[in-house]
Amino acid sequence: MSERYFAKVVRVLNSTTAVIDAGEDSGVKLGDKFLLIGLGELIVDPDTQEELERLEIVRGKAQVTHVQSRIATLQSYEYVRTGDVKEIKKVTSRGVGIANFLGPQDTVTESISPGKERLKDLIDLSVGDFAIRI
């Protein structure tokens, strides 16, 4: 494996969690951050026709959440946020007593529910992808 690629993904646990084949023995510590990539097509320089290198496809960024001697568990640490939801409620009510003379009363309630944040998926991550230390 080239120096650039620190470790290889050996298991994908779910869409945000994966296991790499490097652990404490390789100097991995809790909280270490990695860029997970897969290798794509070979890029050729159109002017010189020189084969440059294979395109790295970014799967996501992940952080070490658990370290064992030869493996480590990584979890995505980027977040995605859904848009805020704005809700406007209009309630028309008739008043009682003197208020009845004033006609129907409109009550407008406006509420904004903030968007929810969740961990960003490691897109298309598969066994054999590489981890680059960042």
Partner: protein, 174 residues
């Protein structure tokens, strides 16, 4: 750098300087030194030693200048576009650091128009991936041909007004 040194030496200015220096030295020699006199080997060795030391120092300076790096160009022209992920691929350039915001300018008759705002997505050993974040709609079809790519220049310079197009960093909106 090597080209610059070679051009400097093998130019009209360089040739004039060499001829001038040679004439000056020969004039000095004929004016003050008796060229028919015999010299001792000791002096000859001394002069050779001084000259060779001087030459070595000059060679070292030339070697250092040759290894001096040329500054990278201030812009790059993309040579590949990956439509599915909106990524331009450019050659490696030290001006493009990881995660900086860059501007993709459309060149039309010498006029620059900002076509995309993008970020340096990934720096590889020989290429750099630039991911489009804001599209100003100059290429409505979305699929860029190799001819279209030749009209685009990517620079690590962005107008401050265009930066307002970016959302809060750190969180990616879906």
């Amino acid at each position: 750098m090597r080209n610059r040194i070679a051009k400097g030496i093998f130019s009209l200015t360089g040739a004039s300087l060499i001829i001038g220096a040679a004439g000056f030295l020969s004039a000095l020699v004929t004016m003050f030194i008796d060229v028919t006199a015999s010299v001792s080997v000791k002096w000859l060795i001394f002069v050779v030693f001084i000259l060779s030391s001087f030459s070595l120092i000059l060679l070292k300076i030339i070697a250092d200048l040759s290894s001096e790096k040329e500054p990278p160009p201030p812009f790059e022209v993309p040579f590949k576009y990956i439509n599915e992920s909106g990524i331009f691929v450019i050659r490696r350039n030290e001006n493009f650091l990881n995660s900086i915001i860059v501007g993709c300018y459309f060149q039309n008759d010498g006029v620059d128009t900002l076509a995309y705002l993008a970020v340096v997505h990934l720096v590889q050993d020989k290429v750099i991936q630039i991911k489009i974040r804001v599209d100003f709609g100059l290429f409505p079809s979305g699929d860029l041909s190799p001819e279209d790519l030749k009209t685009i220049e990517i620079r690590p310079v962005v107008p401050v007004t265009a930066l307002e197009q970016f959302d809060t960093p750190g969180v990616v909106n879906e």
